[in-house]
Symmetry: C2
Subunit: 338 residues, 2 copies
DNA sequence: CTGAAAGCGCTTACAG
DNA sequence: CTGAAAGCGCTTACAG
């Protein structure tokens, strides 16, 4: 049961290796009978071409890279599986890579990945997708890539995103419609463009409803649980605390819930809490979180789709915006105005 | 800024490519001055050897595969990062692969991975690590692998694990020491050997303390949140409900918390809840979970270490057992016996 | 529509 | 201690 090569298949099918190569790469100019014979032989021998031989000889490795920096586990796994699922349909494989370093080190790290693995293209997840120096370096290498990112007019490369600002606006409008007037907001990590987009949506909703924007109700967070906890403690110890807190992701919203529990503030009776992302977390805390469904799996699936497409056409990659969805659960309710 | 090859380095250093190869692979028989000259040239050119050329020409790809089936996101990411961290120290790279299929399809999937990517070895995570047919197939391929698994005497291949039964026993003893006499238990997924080991530890503790083992207090779960919720609803609607519930993982313990909230049973005042794994989840629910710290990151790091070591020595891989730790948080307390 | 030759960037096996 | 030749399993560029 040793590894089969293209020569084994060629011999079994009674053709030259070049013909086997043609069939396996869907090149034209092979008689249907010949094609069938080759396919049968390959099938029968359980033949699979060696990726390293292919990538050494040809100009493609059939490898797509997914690079990330430091996302939450649930988000990362969703991205990973979305990209893998799309690759699988195409006999591509996904190479998952956690980047290390900052600045020049980061760029060297990614260039090293490209040089060593010969990936055909890259899925660049956020916040790497917002690093202009990185995008420039990729451009120099002429390596196709698709970003998973909030809409970003700073760079012309293809991307897939959702409407972060719109989603945050809609969530805020929902809270207002429940009677909330003092709404706290916890901003995400300053490195993520999504953070400022979500804040913008929050602000837009307040201003459109004529409520005015009070910076005292806005606290900086970092997309992690502890930062949400900390920010919520501050908000809830204000002389006039908010009746609702909207955190820029679920992890921080879980932190808000804990702060409320610590202070014996019942949720949602005296405090409504909203998150963002609709990760697994939002369904396992109590009360379950009202949140925005971010289609992470689909974002990665779609990004991979665009990438594979542009690898085929050589086409100028396009862009896609995926729909979000407001998910109402038990952590929010009518404001208890006194 | 095109890709550099071994020829570029050889030219810059004034040696033959074979000498460059020797230096880069730490082979003997190179004069220190020559070695230094080659290293300097490689450094200066930012040269990195092509993995595909290496794996095609030589007998190693410098690629380690991590295969998994369907673990929870937090566990998977810990494994992934532990294995990556160990690889990075060694200029190996990690190829992460989600297996698809069952039975023969699963085996074909893994063999396909091996044939196509030429991985030098495999980290086999649980429950794949318990599939005897898979292990047999890997043996036939003579591919080195290390399992991440509960101790398993059924197979002689190397593995890294923790003492699942001992940890469950210790947790149960702790609950007993808090005065609990009616303790519910939620079993993990039947496909995982860890499930029965944890159950065994639970049972051992009860019997050693002369409490007897009541099957009516044991419910089947599947390591996912919903199954914990469901099992807890059943346990808590018993005529004489338990005063403590020990779930075989944190996800299910989070489900128990939700069931308690639904029934307005205060935790830990009237119900103690314990989990297992010490994943992120255990720290973001309320009350935070008492649980067993499973060293997932270290398990993967250590498994990779053993694998790389055996790749070097060709040595018969050894085995390692890593320590667990009981983590006491707010979800457990003294029994409220009436 | 099909094939024989050259070569991708390395390592292996051998020679000096 | 160092190097020239052959070859890994494919694809490319060319010929028929």
């Amino acid at each position: 049961m040793s590894r089969k090569t293209i020569h084994d298949v060629a011999r079994a099918a009674g053709v030259a290796i070049k013909t086997v190569s043609r069939v396996l790469n869907d090149e034209p100019n092979v008689r249907p009978e010949t094609r069938a014979r080759v396919l049968a032989a390959a099938e029968q021998l359980h033949y699979l071409p060696s990726l390293s031989a292919r990538s050494l000889a040809g100009r493609r490795s059939y490898l797509i890279g997914l690079i990330y920096e430091n996302p939450s586990a649930n988000y990362l796994v969703d991205l990973q599986h979305g990209a893998m699922a799309r690759c699988r349909k195409e006999k591509f494989r996904l190479f998952v890579h956690q980047c290390s370093g900052q600045g020049d080190d980061l760029i060297r790290d990614v260039m090293g990945l490209i040089d060593q693995t010969h990936v055909d293209g890259l899925i660049v997840s956020s916040p790497l997708s917002e690093s202009l120096p990185l995008l420039a370096a990729l451009g120099q290498r002429a390596l196709p890539f698709v970003r998973i990112a909030p809409g970003d007019l700073q760079h012309s490369s293809p991307y897939v995103d959702m409407d972060d600002a719109g989603a945050a606006r809609e969530m805020t409008e929902y809270l207002i419609s429940e009677g909330h007037r003092r709404i706290g907001f916890i901003v995400g990590h300053p490195n993520h463009l999504a953070s400022s987009l979500r804040l913008r949506g929050f602000r837009t909703a307040l201003e459109q409803r004529g409520l005015g924007f009070d910076p005292g109700f806005v606290k900086q967070g970092y997309f992690v649980f502890e930062s949400g906890l900390q920010a919520a403690r501050e908000l809830l110890s204000l002389p006039e605390p908010p009746t609702a807190i909207f955190a820029s992701n679920d992890d921080m919203a879980a932190g808000v819930l804990l702060a409320a529990h610590e202070l014996a503030i019942p949720v949602p009776q005296r405090l409504s809490v909203a998150g963002f992302d609709d990760t697994y977390i939002s369904r396992i805390v109590w009360p379950r979180l009202t949140t925005v469904h971010q289609p992470s799996y689909d974002l990665a699936f779609c990004a991979t789709d665009l990438l594979l497409q542009s690898l085929k056409d050589g086409g100028t990659g396009r862009t896609a915006r995926l729909p979000y969805q407001l998910i109402r659960r038990e952590s929010t309710g009518p404001a208890n105005l006194e």
